[in-house]
Symmetry: D2
Subunit: 177 residues, 4 copies
């Protein structure tokens, strides 16, 4: 069956955004890209530094509250509805809850045909790239590198530690049905 959705999961600074842009470039059909960053941008500014919404600690720890979860559930349902209405969609997400986060998506997805992709990056290398980006709280990369993959099942995994985004994207594209 034709792949309708690609869901990338990986820690902060693992290289998801670069892979998404490359996927949009190499895939022959047009794919829309959404993800946790664009979702957070859609929230009221006052929820972006709040216990109810999403809070970033000085050590890079990220915590989300009840309002965030409720809005995320509706957002997820809407993304799946876009797919059912005919859009091809790439999601880049950070499964802070590991397997639990994947189950949340699976419940919403029903019979939508998804390619699950794990985006790995050596924790030390991700931490180093976080410094080079300059716009992230230091510590996020290291704290998320492993935990987001715990108990998650993938169709394929790519590793950006020694492989460029475009090469990873081509590997993923080859698995798109």
């Amino acid at each position: 069956m034709a792949t309708q959705m690609i869901i990338l999961n990986g820690g902060s600074s693992s290289g998801k955004s670069g892979i998404v842009r490359c996927l949009q470039d190499v895939l022959p059909d047009p794919w829309l890209a959404f993800g946790c960053d664009s979702f957070v941008d859609a929230m009221p500014a006052k929820l972006r530094a709040s216990d109810e919404g999403i809070a970033f600690a000085a050590d890079g720890e990220v915590s989300v509250g009840a309002e965030f979860r409720a809005l995320e559930l509706a957002w997820t349902a809407g993304i799946v509805a876009m797919v059912r209405a005919g859009a091809r969609i790439i999601i880049d997400d950070v499964f802070l809850g590991g397997a639990e986060s994947q189950r949340r998506w699976q419940k919403a997805l029903g019979d939508v045909s998804v390619l699950w992709v794990g985006v790995r990056c050596d924790s030390a290398v991700a931490a180093v790239r976080e410094v080079a980006r300059g716009d992230r709280i230091q510590g996020m990369a290291a704290s998320q590198a492993e935990v987001v993959h715990q108990g998650v099942s993938y169709d394929l995994e790519v590793d950006t530690t020694h492989t460029e985004s475009l090469v990873c994207a081509r590997t993923i594209a080859a698995h798109v049905g």
Copy 2:
């Protein structure tokens, strides 16, 4: 019935984004904000300068093609599904097709309770603000100021020519059921 969606329509540089951020600040519940800018950002870069996607002429004229329309239809369906799943949503849009663009939304909306808001700005003033923004093609504001409102029905209209965004937002918020 409680308002589930607020749809703002107005030309480029009419002040929609500022009103959206103010609405998110003054409304007591959390509202998610999406719009034509975030939709265009979700498209592949190669569609952002293409006849099939969206093209910006040197004089500020914007034209959209078949791929754009197909993706937009699916996106619209998904936004409405987010609302049905419980999210409150503010949309800022540019009805390049006037009444026709509004009908496209109406077909997708069904019985969702929407507050339709026209965002007006004197064409010359919008053109002047376009220069001050510095990141828009000059000519968009003037070419869109009137045409986007042709044949469109609103629950209320605000005018940013002499009124600050936050004041417009408070007027709109007072109409939210």
Copy 3:
């Protein structure tokens, strides 16, 4: 004597950046634009949240430390050297120290021909625009609106409360020798 530099001073969200972009558009010669924002961007990230560098309190209060002052002094000298080397330059600054900040510039300027411009905006209106921008700590506009002008002498003042950036820019441009 031909004006070599234009220095705009005003509080946060008073509309300086918009005026600068309009000035660059309406002035027939090319003018380079620098200011406190581009200076802060040039600093190491670790100085951007530090007592030694620049710190932003939750209420919008801004404080700067010894390292900031030392770097600023060198930066100011360099900007003046650019002017002596033939560049026309527009500066937008926030005189947190009022007259004292102006004296710092004057000491560096020597006989450079400067047009001093005060950018006023009603404190309540600036606060309202700060909400609409969405990317500033709320409180900066109100706390800076008056204090930055204390004891400062200008060649002309513009007020963005009821006047568009481009109109202010044209007024300023008419005073450029």
Copy 4:
């Protein structure tokens, strides 16, 4: 003698900006960072797509005109003046003219103590990273990868093809006197 300036030269998408941010992080003293991007941002928008200023062709070729050169000369003089006034400065530049571009800097520098750093990246890898960035005209990386180094002398060279920005930055930092 203590290093007063670090000048990095490399093609588009060779990884200069990441190295600069890492250098600012690892160097114990505060270093200001400027470069061709911040210089172009300081120019009037109307010069950013002009024969007199800087023009980007659809194939990634960059050409600069007489106004650009005149402003650049003054800017260079000002940067050197900041150094003489006590600021430590990192420059990231693209020597479109190769050795000629270096001579321009050398004429302005006099006896300032500079560490010259070549930032290499395999042309194909830079082209691939250009796709992943998504905000650059495709073709710039490939067209600049070699030409910017022609005839240029360095104190050291780093290569980002297989080495992370932070590791390159540490190598450079070890050469700072």
